[in-house]
């Protein structure tokens, strides 16, 4: 079995015409994968998260063949800077705006970038941020990813429209991989959207995103997980944020039955400013776990986190977030807030905030609230003529609004709002 998988990985690499170093990295990652034990209940990170459904021994490169459902794009093509779509393992760039072309922005499949931008990719893919040694899932992705997206925003380039990455899956495992790198003083918005039809969903999706935010640049990265009904999904999303750079990530969790997100931002230079935002709307039997890390490794940097879960049915959410301030990271300013709203008595939300402060001149605070809808809010809205359903949906909208507010790009914000409302009102997101 193992040797077969190794051969399959070599075949995958060869068929994509990948350079030797990448083939070797895949093989090395597979070795790490095989020698790293699967997560168990006894690991702190996995205590509340059941991974017994994952077929760890059956992991193999995704087979080509199955054709993902044809889903409508989340926005007008022309409202993007660049639109890259991956269907299964096949990547195509559907649109590049004149603005993006003039700015010299590169948006291509990661496989193509291994050739065209070989040095950058070799330097940054699975090295500092999400190496295979980070864990079994990261190793699995590093060995098995296919297609992938590479985004490079050159120094000083400022894009006014978002770069959009759409990943469409069929009913086969999928291993998306994204590498974003912004040059000094540049500015860009990136939206990545994972989708499948309700019926044909990937049993296992395991994606990995690495964001390198260069000095004085601004990156907003929004991720939407909108798999169909029974998908099981893992997302690793690690960022490093340089001096005077600004990063906002927003994770929107809507689909699948299982989702685990490992989200981290490392602040490496003074003046770095990070916002980590998240919103999940879960119903039925859905489960979502977000582990976040705000890692202050420099003086004079700020991070602010807001994760909001709205739970219906018998859904469950886990939020576990750590603020870590390294010993020399004086004058760090870090904030973390998790809000959970239960629409019924059935759901459950676990919230585990953690501070690890090793410096003495810092401002770090966190807060967590879990509540049900206040009957007095329903009464107030009712007194203005809104029926129960309308009032509830307005309150849910309002609960997500502070997160939507933090998505800087209006096109991205509106696409996300539409997807959330579609789920809320029970209409297909497509």
């Amino acid at each position: 079995m193992t040797s077969t998988t190794r051969d399959l990985i070599t075949d995958l690499s060869t068929s994509h015409g990948e350079p030797g170093w990448l083939r070797e990295r895949r093989a090395a990652a597979w070795h790490v994968y095989e020698t790293t034990p699967a997560p168990t209940w006894s690991d702190e990170e996995w205590r509340r998260t059941d991974t017994s459904w994952v077929d760890w021994d059956g992991a193999a490169p995704a087979a080509n063949g199955a054709d993902p459902a044809r889903l409508a794009l989340p926005m007008e093509v022309s409202s993007a800077s660049v639109l890259l779509r991956q269907r299964g393992s096949m990547v195509e760039v559907l649109y590049t705006s004149p603005e993006a072309r003039d700015a010299g922005v590169t948006v291509v499949s990661l496989a193509a970038a291994a050739d065209s931008d070989g040095d950058t990719v070799a330097d940054r893919l699975g090295t500092d941020l999400a190496p295979p040694s980070a864990g079994k899932l990261q190793a699995m992705n590093a060995a098995l990813w296919s297609g992938g997206a590479f985004v490079r925003v050159p120094e000083g380039a400022k894009l006014t429209a978002p770069i959009v990455i759409v990943i469409d899956a069929a009913d086969q495992p999928i291993f998306p991989r994204t590498l974003v790198s912004t040059g000094a003083g540049s500015s860009a918005d990136v939206l990545e959207w994972w989708r499948s039809s309700q019926a044909a969903t990937p049993g296992l999706a395991n994606g990995c995103v690495e964001l390198f935010v260069g000095a004085g640049s601004k990156l907003s990265y929004t991720h939407v997980q909108a798999w169909g009904g029974h998908a099981g999904s893992f997302l690793t999303q690690y960022a490093s944020v340089a001096r005077d750079a600004e990063l906002a990530t927003t994770n929107v969790t809507l689909g699948g039955r299982f989702h685990k997100g490992a989200i981290a931002a490392t602040l490496t230079g003074p003046g770095a400013n990070v916002r980590l935002n998240g919103m999940a709307y879960l119903d039925g039997e859905q489960f979502a776990d977000h582990h976040t890390l705000q890692d202050h490794r420099t003086t004079d940097a700020a991070s602010d986190l807001l994760y909001v879960n709205v739970l219906d049915g018998s859904a469950r959410s886990v939020y576990a977030g750590t603020i870590m301030v390294q010993p020399h990271a004086q004058r760090s300013n870090a904030y973390q807030q998790n809000r959970n709203l239960m629409l019924k008595r059935g759901p459950r939300a676990d919230s585990i905030p953690r501070l690890e402060i090793m410096a003495d001149d810092v401002r770090c605070t966190h807060g967590s609230t879990t509540s049900t809808i206040d009957p007095m809010h329903l009464y107030y809205l009712g007194s203005r003529g809104l029926g129960l359903d309308q009032a509830r949906s307005l309150i849910v909208d309002g609960t997500f609004e502070p997160v939507l507010d933090r998505i800087p790009d209006a096109t991205v914000r509106s696409a996300v709002r539409t997807a959330v409302r579609a789920k809320l009102h029970g209409t297909a997101a497509a």
Partner: protein, 257 residues
């Protein structure tokens, strides 16, 4: 379905209301004809806010006896939102703070709930700005979250803004004057006065006579211990201001006025 002047818009008959098994209203009877402004005065604890909330259908208030008709309909049968769509409005003493819900988007939904056809975004915007100008509110107010972080005065002004936009046929103002400085009080009273006309019935609930200097009532009712003990013209309010509620007996005198 518009009531004409002189017709009774709201009719309350022998209303008994309990909260957590304690009887607060003990047989209230009151009529408010369309186009009239009635004041309901009384000491703290006399049941003024209970009446306001019972009329609007607050879930914690139990109607144990009596009847309430509005425009001829038995409203005790109706849910709160149905009463609102029928034309009843309560300006709350303590309006709820609803985070994330913007004043403008909420108010447009509320207005559409009362209309047969949806108001266009542009038309609504124009209406909202006109009413905000009338109440001398900063246009930025429209995009703020509903009552969140509002001062006491801003909340009250926001209640009157909703009244002005929704144009109900009955407005109950529950201690709208409390927490308002004199300038804000004038602006709010001006707003209410402009809405007075042949259709709107108003029930002004207040502890003090002050508000009634600006919103002149057609009738004044005194509520003591869950019952209306006296009704009269606007001179009754002036007398209460001078003499207090002591003359109505021990139960009232024991309240801190």
């Amino acid at each position: 379905m518009t009531a004409t002047n002189g017709q009774t818009t709201l009719s309350i008959r022998d209303l008994h209301v309990s909260v957590e098994d304690a009887e607060i209203l003990r047989g209230v009877t009151l009529d408010i004809p369309a186009g009239e402004v009635h004041a309901l005065m009384g000491p703290n604890g006399s049941g003024k806010s209970t009446l306001a909330n019972a009329l609007m259908g607050h879930p914690a208030y139990e109607i144990t006896a009596g009847q309430v008709h509005f425009k001829g309909q038995d409203v005790l049968e109706l849910e709160t939102d149905e009463r609102a769509r029928l034309g009843m409005f309560l300006a709350f003493q303590y309006p709820a703070e609803i985070p994330g819900v913007r004043v403008a988007s909420f108010l447009r939904l509320a207005l559409n709930a009362r209309r047969e056809t949806e108001i266009s975004v542009m038309e609504f915007r124009r209406l909202l700005m006109e009413k905000m100008q009338m109440l001398r509110m900063d246009p930025k107010f429209a995009s703020r979250y509903l009552n969140e972080g509002f001062s006491g005065g801003e909340k009250k002004r926001n209640e009157i803004l909703q009244l002005a936009v929704l144009e109900p046929e009955l407005a109950i103002l529950d201690e709208t004057d409390s927490g308002l400085d004199i300038d804000a009080l004038r602006i709010v009273a001006d707003g209410v006065n402009r809405l007075r006309g042949s259709d709107l019935g108003v029930l002004v609930i207040t502890h003090y006579q002050r508000l009634l200097n600006y919103i002149e009532p057609d009738r004044v009712h005194v509520l003591i211990d869950g019952r209306v003990v006296e009704s009269g013209g606007k001179e009754l309010a002036e007398r209460l201001e001078a003499e207090g509620y002591e003359r109505y007996g021990a139960a009232a005198a024991s309240e801190d006025a």
